[in-house]
Every structure is written in structure tokens, then in C-alpha cells.
């Protein structure tokens, strides 16, 4: 079985995003970029399935600018076998990403497509579900445990009420939540080795997908700033202040 792992290049999660003053977006010039943290978890889980003998090959794919190669090299350094970059300078929306991934899945025929539940830039939380719909396959979203089980996969999902378990027939789409695993760091020798692993470059047109956006962002602004309040001396002052505000 192959596992396809889509990864996205996003602002590093430790960087505080700054909104551009002209309202056109978030300033990404000279900002540290990294692999979306949820996608790192997806790469790790795919590698663990391979190491457990449940999968033969892990293929990383990224849709984005030429620099998304770096993100793919990170996946390769972690242990993915090969990579596909679908290069475009457009901001590609989840629906178009899902269409491209569907075309790649038709070529590669993976048993599982494993991807992060959301990207920390647009916070959409859509791509995996959309891909599952387009492929007419089941989806195990927000996964905290994944077990291959014969011709199916059992996925434990983090839901509002606790933990839900579903059984999916393969092929299936799994989206990863925070507690699925702790991703490994790539070792230096593996980083060197990753440079020699195959990386194919394609374009959205190669897959016949129109990436024209359906949503137009007309403005991006700072959220209302919350003013820091008062630092109180002790618990008595805290209780008094809570009462004064009518909070209790």
C-alpha cells in the first residue's frame, strides 16, 4: 500500500503574523516558513505505518510556490520516499487543492491519503473532507489514533464530546489532530540523503485543474486589540475587582 501525504508550506507556528497596512493580507516577506504542524504529524504517522510493515511507500506532495520544495525536502528528510511538487504562485483554495490531489491519487492509487486537519494560515479545515467527497471515499478526520485492520482502517477521532471511533473501508482519507504522534526530527545524514531522493515538478494544468479562486479576499485587518487590564496585589484585591466588575 502507498500512502500519499500532502504537505503545505506555511508561516512558522512560532511567528506572530503581521497584517499589512494596506489590508491586502499578512506580510510573509522575510518571515520564517515551515511545514504546517498538522502535516508534519501526517508525515510521521505515514512513516510509522511504513515502519510497521503496513505500507510500502510514502509519497509527499505539495501544491505551492517553488520554495515549497523545501517543505518537501523536509518530508523526504523525515523519511518519505519521493515527492511531487505541483508548482503555482497562485494561492490555491482547498477545493482546487482537493481536485489536484484527486488527480494525483488516480495516478498513484494510494491506500491512504494522510493530511493535516487544517493549515495554520487560512485555518480552513476543508481539504481532506473535500478530497474524500471527490474520491467518493470515507474520511477519518481529526485522528488521534490510526490502526490498519485488514481491508479497513480504524480511526479514533477527537470530537467535541470526547473520542469517537469509526471503521473505514480502504482507500480512505485521514486528517490528523495534535495528539496522534510526536513528529521526529530529521537527522543530518537523512537531510543529506533527502537531497538525492526523487522530486517531480508538475503544474496544476498537468492535472487539468482550474485553480481560479472562488472566494475573493477584499480586506485583511488586525483583530480588535484587547487592552491589558490591571495587575492586582493579592487574592483579596482580585476578589474585590471581580465583584466590582459584576463578574461573580
Amino acid at each position: 500500500m502507498k500512502i500519499l501525504v500532502p504537505v503545505k508550506r506555511v508561516i512558522d507556528y512560532n511567528v506572530k503574523p503581521r497584517v499589512k497596512s494596506d489590508g491586502s493580507g499578512v506580510d510573509l516577506a522575510n518571515v520564517k516558513m515551515s511545514m504546517n504542524p498538522f502535516d508534519e504529524i501526517a508525515v510521521e504517522e505515514a512513516l510509522r505505518l511504513k515502519e510497521a510493515g503496513k505500507a510500502e511507500e510514502v509519497i509527499a506532495v505539495s501544491i505551492g510556490p517553488a520554495k515549497a520544495q523545501e517543505t518537501l525536502r523536509t518530508a523526504l528528510a523525515m523519511g518519505a520516499d519521493r515527492a511531487i511538487l505541483v508548482e503555482t504562485d497562485e494561492a490555491v483554495e482547498p477545493l482546487a487543492v482537493a481536485k489536484i490531489l484527486k488527480a494525483i491519487a488516480a495516478d498513484e492509487e494510494p491506500g491512504i491519503v494522510m493530511l493535516g486537519k487544517q493549515a495554520i494560515d487560512d485555518d480552513s479545515n476543508q481539504t481532506g473532507q473535500m478530497l474524500a467527497a471527490l474520491m467518493e471515499r470515507p474520511q477519518g478526520t481529526f485522528a488521534s489514533k490510526v490502526e490498519i485492520d485488514g481491508d479497513g482502517v480504524s480511526v479514533t477521532r477527537e470530537v467535541d464530546g470526547g473520542l469517537e471511533t469509526v471503521k473505514l473501508t480502504l482507500p480512505a482519507i485521514v486528517t490528523t489532530d495534535l495528539r496522534l504522534n510526536e513528529p521526529r526530527y530529521a537527522s543530518l545524514p537523512n537531510i543529506m540523503k533527502a537531497k538525492k531522493k526523487p522530486l517531480d515538478t508538475k503544474t496544476p494544468a498537468d492535472y487539468g485543474v482550474d485553480v481560479a479562486p472562488r472566494l475573493t479576499t477584499t480586506n485583511v485587518s488586525e483583530p480588535p486589540v484587547r487592552q491589558a487590564g490591571e495587575i492586582v496585589e493579592d487574592v483579596d484585591a482580585l476578589v474585590a475587582k471581580l465583584k466590582a466588575l459584576g463578574a461573580i
Binding site: 495554520i120 485555518d123 474524500a132 471527490l134 464530546g161 470526547g162 473520542l163 472562488r214 485587518s221
Partner: protein, 309 residues
Amino acid sequence: MTTLVFAEPHGDAVADATLATVTAAAALGGPVHVLTTAAGDAHAAIAGVEKVLVADDAAYANGLAENLAPLIAGLMAKDDTGYDAVLAPATTTGKNVLPRVAALLDVMQVSDIISVEGPKTFTRPIYAGNAIATVESSDPKLVITVRTTAFDKAEATGGSAGTETVSGPGDAGLSQFVKLDAVESERPELTSAGIVVSGGRALKDGETFEQYITPLADKLGAAIGASRAAVDAGYVPNDYQVGQTGKIVAPEVYIAIGISGAIQHLAGMKDSKVIVAINKDPDAPIFQVADIGLVADLFNAVPELVEKL
């Protein structure tokens, strides 16, 4: 235009998240219909709802997206009685099901809206709430999830909608519900509680978390939340997590104990009315958003607070 709300499953009652979503749906201007898998009569009583569709086939009972998405997409696409928009709360159910509906309709979903600015224009937080985007859809139909803390709840009573049973393709045969390990609690639900007491990594372990956070929550009748660090370390279950990827809360009072205030955590609670922070590090970022801050060792301050409240 007529708008459909996909109700949050909530046993034989109506979820608060559904009430807030009805308010968002009404802001689009057209009549509002509600689709529910149970409790048709309770949903028919929501003020402002014109009609309730009840899909009571067993295939829809467990919220499986593979079964629900074709049902919803089918209702949307009907020639004569179709819908121009579908909204669901951005709960784990809504987030699971609605993008699947959007893809079936070839529509780009608008996720997690916090306001309705026009017939096809909305605002939504991006980058963990560090920016607010205004987006306009060019799709013929709208598929939207709603950040429920941003909308007032519709009145749960006073409405008298008619109910109608609907059916769809049923079981898609792709997935099976196995079980739900629910956390049983007598406490108010985290996302709708008036007061939330949250603990962070500083609580050390599960036992200490329980020993210090629970009495304070009991005294205030509060729900209990946690930072990602506390959940990752196993102090409390996953459904306690407040933040960008956990639950979004906006209670009257949010009390953060031993939480430093990473941007991912602030994203989940900074719309709370009053924020109280207790932390021994005076430079903790949580103090930049707190209305009342106390720089103190929580192991002394929290028991004293419980005593003096």
C-alpha cells in the same frame, strides 16, 4: 433565497450552537429551514425558523459525513425546493460534514464566519485569529460554518415551524460508527458555560490539576478547560482543550491558571468578557489580554481564592 441550517446533534434537545447558527442564517435575509437528525419538535420551536426537516433514517444517527453529505447536497440541489445556502456550527460535526457537502456541490466553503457583511460577504479569523479576513464568495450556492461565539443565540421557544420527514441515499457503505467514549460530567458544557476555569502546564500532573482546578470550578459553577500543554501532558482529556485547534469559548468570565498564553491558546478565549490570569511569571503573555492579573504562585493563590469567593 432560502437558507438551510444543519443542526448540531444534541440528543432530544437543541444545542446552543444551533441557536447561534440560526441567528447567522437569518442574517442572510431569507427564510430559515433547519435539518435535524432527531428532535424535530424541539427544533420547530426555535424562533424564526420556518420549517424543520427531519432525517431520521438510522444511517444519519451517528453523524457520519459519508452518509450525511449526500443527503444535504441533495436537499440543496433540488430544482424547485433547493437551498441557496447551508450553514452549520463550526463544531467537530459541522467541520467534518460541511466541506464534504461543499465539494459535492463544487462550492468553496467559507469556514468559521464571525459576521455576515452582505449577501455573499463574510468575515472570518485567519492565522489563529491574528488577522480577520473579509471574503466574498462567487459560487452560486453558499456553504458556511459558523463560529458560534460570534452570534447571539436565537430564542429556543416561540417558533411554530412545520416539520417534514426527509430521506436521502442512506448508508453509503463506506464507514461505520464503532463507539463514542464520552466524558461524562455534571458540569456546564465548555463552549456554553458562563464561567470557565482553565489550567495549564504549571499544574504539573492530572492529580494536581484536579486538586486545584476542580474546587474553584465547583465554587463558581464553572466549566473546566485546559491549554494544549496540559492536554498533551495527559492531565485532562482532549475535549478540554481551548485554542486555535481546540474549542473556541467566550464566557462571561475566563480564569486562566498557570497558562502562559501562547497565541494558539489566546485564539480560543480572547473574546471572553472578563479574563482573569493567575501566573507566577510576570512576563507571561496572558497578562497582555487579562483584565485582572495576579502574579502569584497558583498553589497558594488558588486555594485562597476558593476560600474567599
